[in-house]
Amino acid sequence: MCLAIPIRVDALLPDQMARVTLGGVSKHISIALVEDVRVGDYVLLHVGYALTRLDPGEAERTLILMREAAVPGLPEIQGAAA
């Protein structure tokens, strides 16, 4: 329920920190709450901490579901991929 932003990990830093970039704007944040963060991952940033990694496959599936919801006449999708 709080403002959290998807943002790309640019570089890993010591002490469980990382540099993240959104649209050319960079910041140093803590990744202590997320395991195995790699450069190129997208994480959700909230008050200076990464909360979770974003799953690119599920992100794409969400868009597919949305496009299917937008087209009349297609069968309903019950949460599973079409």
């Binding site: 709080c2 959290a4 803590s30 909360l51 979770t52 799953d55 969400t62 949305m66 919801a69 949460g79």
Partner: protein
């Protein structure tokens, strides 16, 4: 911006809007509560109401930690901050929340209190480290999204063996608040909010997962769809709720699959469990005292608990008697129905917390949506 712009696509919005209009049955009312203040804000800021058919109504819930913080706790924070040795660190959102007697943290700062606005709990620890002569108190608020940040800050202070850092803990929990909204049978008829389903919080759910909602959905027979924050997420979740209602289902569904799993963030949960324990009871603005709904520091970390370090004795403080934040928070009243809305109460002169927090229902309605009210309600000053 990747993972943001795609979910704000206006073209897709129009099409999903058409689908919602088709699938919402004529003659049937759908009343859904979006629990979370972030969703309240998204609904208003994007004007999503314009894209929903008239039979679908969104009711704003209490999921805004600034809004549910009772006046007494802000009074306590101000009292702490006025102590000459204390540096109070707070998220900016709390600065203008009204306390007793028209006070607030912003005015306390103007009167000389050392109050600093910070972006992250870690900043408070760093201030404590840099200024050992100051007693640094972090005013911690938030649902489960924000609690792990406080836990990590306490851990860091513990590692650094800081003697001058403590936390005034006001962290609250989501499932008990949802339960309080749903558990209406014991209330008089006029005080029951009857919703057909919930839009579940986005980022609380990244931390706690979707499994905690299952017991609530089952016990009260209402569907829950956990939704992301972007406007297309909210619309898709509303569509999923409409489908559940139409089909008589009362399941927990996850729309925010790109960030939320059934079990949530186990590291975050572990960190929270290490540092915090449940309070027996905690006062919520609008919901009254709820059992097992808030956190305090464990005895092991008592030295970082501001309530123990400074012997904070709670002084019960009443809300402004004319303030109807309680009813708004529980979804009983729409903001425009509050007598104070737009007359005495506005973001410039907030009477209650619903108007101060950018995610409060009243602030959201005032800032983005009040032009839809009947003419005259909340209208700007007429020219002489």
């Amino acid at each position: 911006m990747k993972y943001i712009d795609e979910y704000r696509d206006g073209g897709l919005a129009r099409l999903i809007s058409a689908t919602i209009a088709r699938e919402a049955q004529a003659g049937r009312q759908y009343k859904f509560m979006e629990f979370c203040g972030g969703h309240t804000h998204a609904l208003s800021r994007y004007g999503i109401e314009d894209l929903l058919p008239p039979q679908v109504e969104m009711v704003h819930g209490p999921g805004c930690p600034v809004c549910v913080l009772p006046v007494g706790r802000i009074d306590d924070a101000i009292r702490l901050a006025m102590r000459p040795e204390v540096t109070l660190c707070t998220y900016a959102d709390l600065m203008r929340v009204p306390a007793s007697g028209g006070a607030n943290l912003l005015k306390a700062r103007a009167a000389g209190a050392d109050i600093r606005m910070i972006y992250s709990s870690m900043d408070a620890v760093l201030i404590a480290e840099a200024e050992p002569a100051r007693q640094v108190v972090f005013l911690a608020i938030g649902f489960e999204t924000t609690t792990p940040a406080t836990a990590l800050a306490i851990r860091l202070a513990h590692q650094k063996q800081l003697a001058n850092f403590s936390v005034f803990c006001n962290h609250v929990l989501t499932p008990p608040a949802i339960r309080a909204i749903l558990d209406v049978d014991h209330l008089p008829a006029g005080e029951r909010v009857l919703v057909d389903g919930f839009v579940g919080p986005a980022h609380v759910s990244t931390v706690i997962g979707t499994s905690p909602y299952a017991a609530l959905a089952a016990a009260f027979g209402k569907p829950v769809v956990v939704a992301g924050f972007e406007p297309l997420d909210v619309m898709q979740a509303i569509l999923m709720l409409i489908r559940q209602v139409n089909e008589g289902r009362t399941e927990v569904e996850n729309q925010y699959i790109r960030a939320v799993t059934p079990e949530g963030n186990l590291i975050a949960q572990r960190e929270m469990a290490e540092i915090f324990e449940l309070r027996d009871s905690f006062e919520w603005r609008g919901l009254g005292a709820l059992p097992a709904s808030a956190l305090r520091l464990r005895n092991t970390y008592a030295t970082f608990d501001a309530e123990r370090r400074f012997t904070i004795v709670p002084v019960p403080a009443a809300d402004n008697p004319a303030c109807e934040c309680g009813d708004v928070l529980r979804g009983l009243k729409k903001p425009a129905a509050c007598k104070l809305f737009g007359t005495v109460c506005s973001p410039q002169t907030p009477m209650g917390s619903c108007m101060v927090s950018p995610e409060g229902a009243c602030a959201a309605h005032w800032t983005y949506g009040r032009f839809r009210d009947r003419a005259g309600a909340g209208a700007p000053r007429q020219a002489a």
